[in-house]
């Protein structure tokens, strides 16, 4: 294993050997169980039946594991994702600074740029791991509850309604999870940037969550309607467009260009700050 791969492996080992890293995974399972329970209540089933009937579709065909799985992801993705990604990415650098372990590392002949790059990569990998776990468990739970079938997607906020057959739906679901993870990487990037500042880990997490929640709240205020393209949460929801019957690629490209720019700015700012910082007990 070359040095860079070994260092990345060790960073991941450090992250995943810590119990608190798994709080997010545990919370995902708990929330999914609750959502599944809510969705299996007669009122929820009746609502779904009504929605399907309105579009002249078969209830049996689309009340499936895929549909329930995607519903669970849509409910939990942004809120739980934001919370636990902010928690982990906000901790990743600032906790090490606070504990003094970073000073031990900085005694080694390793560049600060490499440390920032490794830790940022760790955050990105954690983001993908959490979202893939969310997607897999949601799909698994949905399948266990009502088996296979087509995929029905309904998201009024994104003005989206689409249906897909089982195979195509599953493919869309898998691609959708990858793009959800890519979207939520921006929250990890924000958390990571704050983590590199001279602030406590809790402050980094709270700052990240504040931005995400203030942004999501203001986006819903009609007064800011003309500013929608500037809100982060507008672009964070871009992954849902991958479920449209005809994928609006131009919009997707614009959204992901925005999100990747946010990632790049956060990373570069974190790098700049970290390289200039003094580390003292």
């Amino acid at each position: 294993m070359n040095a860079l791969a070994l260092q990345l492996w060790n960073e991941l080992y450090k992250l995943f050997a810590r119990k608190r890293t798994y709080i997010g995974f545990g919370a995902v399972v708990v929330v999914e169980c609750v959502i599944l329970w809510v969705m299996s209540r007669p009122q929820s089933v009746a609502q779904f039946r009504q929605l399907v009937a309105q579009h002249g579709l078969s209830f049996k065909r689309y009340y499936s594991g895929l549909t329930l799985g995607l519903e669970m992801v849509m409910w939990t993705g942004l809120i739980l994702g934001a919370l636990f990604l902010a928690l982990v990415s906000g901790d990743v650098m600032s906790k090490e600074v606070e504990d003094g372990t970073l000073r031990m590392l900085l005694c080694r002949p390793v560049s600060r740029t490499r440390i920032v790059a490794l830790k940022y990569t760790t955050c990105v990998i954690y983001t993908f791991a959490l979202i893939f776990f969310l997607g897999a468990t949601a799909l698994g739970a949905g399948m266990l509850y009502c088996g296979t079938g087509g995929l029905l997607v309904s998201s009024p906020t994104e003005e989206l309604f689409a249906v897909h057959e089982a195979r195509a739906g599953l493919a869309r679901y898998c691609v959708g999870m990858s793009f959800l993870a890519l979207s939520l990487t921006s929250i990890s990037s924000l958390g990571f940037m704050f983590s590199c500042l001279k602030i406590k880990p809790a402050a980094a997490t709270i700052s990240t969550l504040s931005i995400v929640f203030v942004d999501s709240t203001f986006r819903r205020v009609p007064f800011f309607g003309s500013l929608l393209p500037l809100f982060l949460s507008t672009h964070l929801a871009a992954w849902q467009q991958l479920f449209a019957v005809t994928i609006p690629w131009t919009r997707c490209c614009q959204d992901y260009s925005y999100l990747l720019s946010v990632d790049a700015v956060c990373f570069l700012f974190a790098l700049l700050v970290f390289r200039r910082r003094d580390f003292k007990a």
Binding site: L6, K14, A17, K19, C107, D278, K280, A281
Partner: protein
């Protein structure tokens, strides 16, 4: 081996280090003394590139830490006053983790160092169950891997019991004697530094107030206890030699006066001398005198 050139560091409004120039030759155990906040840790931080100097430059093996940090730290080990590890990982995994940033180190080499610091029976236990002394040993182990030429030790005996202090001292001496390592030992424990270091530097409020051998520091004041039969006659002889009586039977000579001159004068004056005992200032006195002189 280590050279500091006009090194200054301002932290906020405070001058943590003020124009320090220092040279430490290879193969030496060099002591860095100073009270809390004197600038010792700042100096070590600058040497490790963890702090950016306001002015000046630090060199290790002739390589600038500020310009070529990676090359300069290639064979440098360091431990801090309060060593920090991932307490949920074992000592072994902590070592492996840190070593991944220093290039390849064989398992055998790690085992040798673990044995050297006496942690071979506990190295696979999580660090959270380690005592402070064990953490210090683990810190020493990581500083010795891969084998360094220079070891920077910031208060290595801090928080250790007397046995631990003695053990740490033995390890440091062994490293220097058997492996020829250059050791920069920062401490506020004067006896500790005296037992290990032949040369010291004293920092006070960020300024270097002394650098040299202990003996130079001690020679700065020449005091002797005299046992004489006639102090009245002796006083006259002392005045001639411009010697001051500073206490009961204790005299202090000026730098230019030799004790032989005083003895000769006392003999000429008919004073019988029963004993002449050179008095050595204790370390605390030496240190405080140097610090208060500035």
């Amino acid at each position: 081996m280590i050279r500091l050139e006009h090194l200054s560091k301002t932290l906020g409004r405070r001058r943590a280090l003020d124009d320090v120039t220092l040279e430490i030759p290879a193969g030496e155990i060099f002591g860095l003394l100073g009270h809390n906040g004197a600038g010792k840790s700042t100096l070590l931080g600058l040497l490790l590139g963890q702090l950016h100097p306001t002015r000046g430059e630090a060199f290790i093996r002739g390589i600038s830490v500020q310009r070529q940090r990676l090359r300069a730290l290639q064979r440098v080990g360091a431990i801090f006053e309060t060593p920090a590890f991932f307490d949920y990982l074992s000592g072994w995994n902590n070592l492996r983790n840190l070593l991944s940033y220093s290039g390849p180190v064989s398992r055998g080499e790690i085992e040798d160092v673990v044995r050297f610091v006496g942690l071979e029976n506990r190295i696979h236990e999580p660090v959270r169950v380690y005592s402070h002394g064990m953490k210090q040993r683990l810190a020493l182990a990581q500083a010795l891997l891969p084998r360094p030429d220079v070891v920077l030790l910031d208060e290595p005996a801090q928080g250790l019991d007397p046995e631990g202090i003695q053990e740490m001292r033995r390890l440091i001496q062994q490293l220097n004697r058997e492996h020829g390592m250059t050791v920069l030992l920062s401490s506020h424990l004067l006896p500790e530094v005296e037992q290990l270091c032949s040369r010291v530097a004293i920092l006070n409020q960020g300024r270097l107030v002394f650098q040299g051998h202990w003996s130079e520091l001690a020679q700065a004041r020449k005091q002797f206890r005299l046992r004489l039969n006639d102090w009245e006659k002796a006083r006259v002889a002392m005045e001639k030699c411009r010697v001051i009586l500073v206490g009961q039977e204790i005299v202090e000579l000026r730098a230019e006066t030799d004790i032989a001159d005083l003895i000769a004068e006392l003999v000429r004056s008919g004073v019988r001398i029963h004993a002449v005992e050179p008095l050595r200032e204790d370390l605390e006195e030496l240190y405080l005198r140097k610090v208060s002189a500035r």
